[in-house]
Symmetry: C2
């Protein structure tokens, strides 16, 4: 029997509390899998005297991180502080001191993952981060182990619960963005400063991590184009529905030959696509592999217990590796040269909502622009606007390349009959 | 650099061909992950001279299994023959000869998995079987690794593509079972003898495997209650839809305290449940964990390339273990004592379709029977039957225990006003 595995935890907020609950509640099952017991021996907190809704021996709490990072007895560090500073430095020190690290911190993993991974390899330590993307969905394992034999060509993710909650409500109730956002803030589903969620930045960090693992390329946050949900109107959603689409904030990572592209943007997704029915705060990741075809993984994207589940699953993996003496044996995921896809190479359908002058020949002028750049159309739908002498035209294109669409858009801006390009969405499914 | 890993394959049908395609097509990626190359050196076939739609060196083919099982150079055996005999004996010999085994064979794993697993442990060999359940969905890994920290309490699976195809068609087209089955046979989606699929036996074998892993209990096929889809009428599906349900052949494994129950049966599932929209030949497995909550894993349940993906992912795992010297280190999954749930402990909603005499007081008589056994009703819906002087009553109960429902059913059989209990379904979602 191996000696107990000792864990130091940085942070005891919502997720940290969940980790304590699982490790203590499932002692027997964990020991059965690992071959020894797992003990959380020290926990870093800001305030030693704070009331907590969990019973934890106060002698385990410390407000001095060195008590944990420099404790030679501690084998594994779980970081649930969030944010870049000081988490990143704590994790680096932990690795330098020979401790395995498990983190739920998408910011650190997205921005400094490569550096940490290299340090982990050098220190023969494990670095695990299942909880950093899509909370309770074991998507990191699925990409690295489950699909290890396949060539993944597309990953599409609903990886931000707040925006998915907002879009689901807008769709179900025909409500406006601002109203639903306020309601979500009142319910605690959205932060008082919702920028990171609604502008797509949180999703972008998660997609950086998924794309890197899925494509084995060193994707950086700055490689992504990112667009949030604040411009989505209830009309967009209503028109989408009419044509059989749901609007979702999708992270899209795709590979074409040797080049990749990663983006986050509101997307019209066909109602019969498995991602279209992912509602509320749930997350889902759709993975297309050349051999396996279409797959999707659905579950809670955040929350105390789901996120803690992923962290403790990582802890089980680290502990098994310790028992087998195989820590730090994971190959670094980014062995391919990074080449980014150009606009000419991005092929997709598009949804456009145009506000146009309501007079003869307008539709002919507009469809001619598409024809000029060889963009063919799947459906066109025109209706008068009730309030002023103009009409609305909705167009869904066949698959077109983005460069051609950019030219179409530029022409529309110079075309007198087009009063406004009200909305442009990528279309999937 | 380790020496190449040599693989012998038993069978070169559809799935075997896919395995060759992936191993040859992804040589570089596989070597990158494993640290050495992987070679399929011998393949057992029935007919050496058969034309094959894959180019393979004819010197690799053999019709003598001993050329593979007794070849000391071969490290890993992949079995894609299917059926119990002679696959089981081949796998046992392989293990006795110190070879790791990978199998896609749900029959062998469901019926003889424990015996093989014990032999594998004794021989310090790996035994992997990701492809035996739900083809391309990495559900075995998800249960063993992804949810290693959680206590799974329910697994519901659409794990048979043929029956899901038939039910999807019946639902979409309002067609009768017999007609759709014939069409599926013509298209090659159903076997000419469809018994194993439509009677739920194939799904039962897969659920045996999932329940065993999910609950760490030595579930045997004989522990399951199994019902197929042949009795489902288009009326059942139409009434279900009217009330917001889709009929699916579901495997349901559930745990209550220390007892478990595993079954396969047609089930009415609420339209907003993630399993309800799984259509066609696709598979999906819904997993509920106490900590993680609701999750679902969706993908192709069969087919050359999806199944081959899972087999080669297993091969990567075996090869990594070889590199690290950790083969056979997996703990056996069934360490809990098996206790089966009694009917009194199975709680579920039910859907009933009754044909009753169309006269005063009938509904009162019927609802009294439910009341007698304290089964409360969620909705009741009555309509006259166009063709004869009787009425149809559809009832959806609140959660009731199965023992009480059995008593309700027995009373209905003796009740003069109930002409026929036309359908009974469990309800989920």
């Amino acid at each position: 029997m191996m000696k107990p595995i000792k864990v130091g935890m940085l942070g005891l907020g919502t997720v940290g509390t969940g980790v304590v609950r699982i490790v203590e509640g499932h002692q027997e099952d964990l020991a059965r899998q690992v071959g020894t017991s797992i003990e959380i021996t020290r926990v870093l907190v800001k305030n030693l005297d704070k009331e907590r809704n969990i019973s934890i021996d106060s002698s385990k709490l410390t407000d001095n991180v060195d008590d944990i990072l420099n404790d030679p007895e501690i084998d594994v560090i779980i970081e649930v502080l969030g944010g870049i500073d000081p988490s990143k430095e704590y994790l680096k020190t932990a690795l330098r001191n020979g401790k395995h690290i498990i983190t739920a911190n998408k910011d650190v993993v997205a921005l400094h993952g490569t550096e940490l991974m290299e340090l982990a390899e050098k220190s023969k330590c494990d670095m695990m981060y299942e909880a950093s993307v899509a909370g309770g969905i074991p998507i990191i394992r699925t990409l690295t182990d489950g699909f290890s034999s396949d060539r993944i060509t597309k990953i599409m993710g609903i990886v931000n619960g707040t925006t998915n909650y907002i879009l689901t409500k807008m769709s179900q109730e025909g409500a406006a963005y601002g109203d639903v956002l306020k309601e979500a803030q009142d319910l605690g589903y959205a932060e008082s400063d919702p920028t990171s969620d609604v502008e797509g930045l949180d999703a972008a960090r998660k997609m950086t991590i998924l794309a890197k693992i899925g494509f084995n390329v060193n994707v950086e946050l700055s490689d992504l184009t990112v667009k949030g949900i604040a411009q989505i109107t209830k009309e967009d959603i209503a028109y989408g529905k009419k044509l059989g689409y749901e609007v979702k904030l999708l992270g899209i990572a795709e590979r074409k030959d040797d080049s990749i592209s990663v983006s986050v943007q509101p997307t019209m997704i066909k109602l019969n696509h498995p991602l279209a029915s992912v509602g509320g705060v749930y997350n889902a990741v759709y993975v297309y592999g050349e051999a396996v075809g279409e797959t999707m993984f659905y579950g809670p994207g955040a929350g105390e217990m789901p996120t803690a589940t992923s962290i403790v699953a990582d802890l089980v993996s680290v502990a098994k590796n310790m028992r087998l003496g195989t820590n730090g044996s994971k190959l670094p995921p980014a062995y391919r040269v990074k080449k980014l896809i150009t606009d000419e190479q991005i092929d997709s359908k598009y949804f456009l909502l145009l506000n146009v002058a309501d007079k003869a020949g307008v539709l002919a002028r507009i469809t001619q622009v598409f024809a000029d750049y060889e963009v063919s159309l799947e459906s066109v739908f025109q209706q008068p606007n009730a309030t002023n002498p103009s009409a609305e035209i909705i167009v869904i294109t066949h698959i077109a390349n983005k460069a051609a669409m950019n030219k179409v858009m530029a022409d529309f801006k110079n075309l007198e009959v087009v009063r406004e390009i009200r909305s442009v969405y990528r279309v999937e499914g």
